[in-house]
Subunit: 188 residues, 2 copies
């Protein structure tokens, strides 16, 4: 599969077959992902592998609690319309995924967010090249329950940056529309 | 070229052949890059194409001025050892590149930095798949001279996030060492 095909194949997937992702496959994708460019080759990232639906449900519940509290505190929250969905007991921010790899990195640092973006892109493309689907679930990173975070092995001073769900897609959804690239200026 | 080969081929390149990158090639790489996943498909990015060595030198000089002032103001700056290099008139943060694509995006926004990281990864891989080399030159984004930024077409409320130099590599450097992936926990 060449890169152009891979770009078409890498779609946000939220609906997976009921099939476990083998740990060797997860490790191979992680090994690809760390080849991502990053600021001064500091490689600030660490990984938590959650190949367990019940644990993902717990992370989802803890994250929803934080998000709901945030919306309820802010009468102008742009996420207000989303509150009813979030409050549904059976709404899981990770959808029906049974596997997620959580990219964690230091809480602070001028280039951490960009580095995590670079790594996540590599991760998602590597997964797609192996026939797996992914989706970055930013909402799943909101959990702040100290006991849960300790159970996940999150080190002091670190946060979850990118929970990436992973699995065998039931279908590859079409690409959502993209705007024409906005090239502000061409200086030759 | 499959994805594994592409990962080996995508290296930080700072030394380019003296050959102009055709605008169609630059546009094709940009068109690939915007297929990157991004928060809520908001696609916050815009592009400035600088295919002109003299303009890159001006951006480099304006950026160096800001970086040098920052180091001189902070006696504990971690970049202190870099001051002599920066002060050399002929040191250009873009090296000998004659082309850069500058990814610009809003100054503020919780997911902007990650989105730019995702886009930049796509851009660099697309360039590598076409035989071109790239390097993210964070230092080139420091220019704050209002006249220069206006000349570049930078909109109000936006900043340069990722200046990516682009060209035909003189050589593909070897991959710098990577740490073994630090998997903190595997929950099955």
């Amino acid at each position: 599969m060449d890169f152009t095909e891979l770009l078409e194949k890498r779609r946000a997937v939220r609906d997976f077959e009921d099939r476990t992702v083998p740990l060797e496959v997860i490790k191979a994708i992680i090994a690809d992902s760390i080849k991502a460019p990053n600021a001064s080759n500091r490689q600030p990232w660490k990984f938590i592998v959650v190949n367990n639906k019940a644990m993902l449900k717990r992370i989802s519940d803890a994250s929803k609690k934080v998000i709901i509290a945030g919306i309820e505190k802010d009468p102008n929250s742009p996420m207000k319309g989303y509150l009813d969905t979030l409050k549904k007991e059976d709404f899981n921010v990770f959808y029906n995924a049974s596997c997620a790899v959580i990219i964690v990195a230091p809480l602070k640092g001028a280039t951490i967010a960009q580095d995590c973006g670079l790594l996540a892109a590599y991760f998602m493309l590597s997964a797609a090249s192996r026939g797996l689907g992914t989706c970055w679930i930013a909402q799943g990173a909101e959990a702040r329950d100290p006991e849960l975070l300790a159970e996940l092995g999150l080190p002091e001073g670190y946060r979850m940056w990118a929970p990436l769900i992973l699995g065998y897609p039931k279908a590859i959804p079409p690409m959502p529309d993209r705007k024409e690239p906005d090239i502000l200026k061409i200086i030759t």
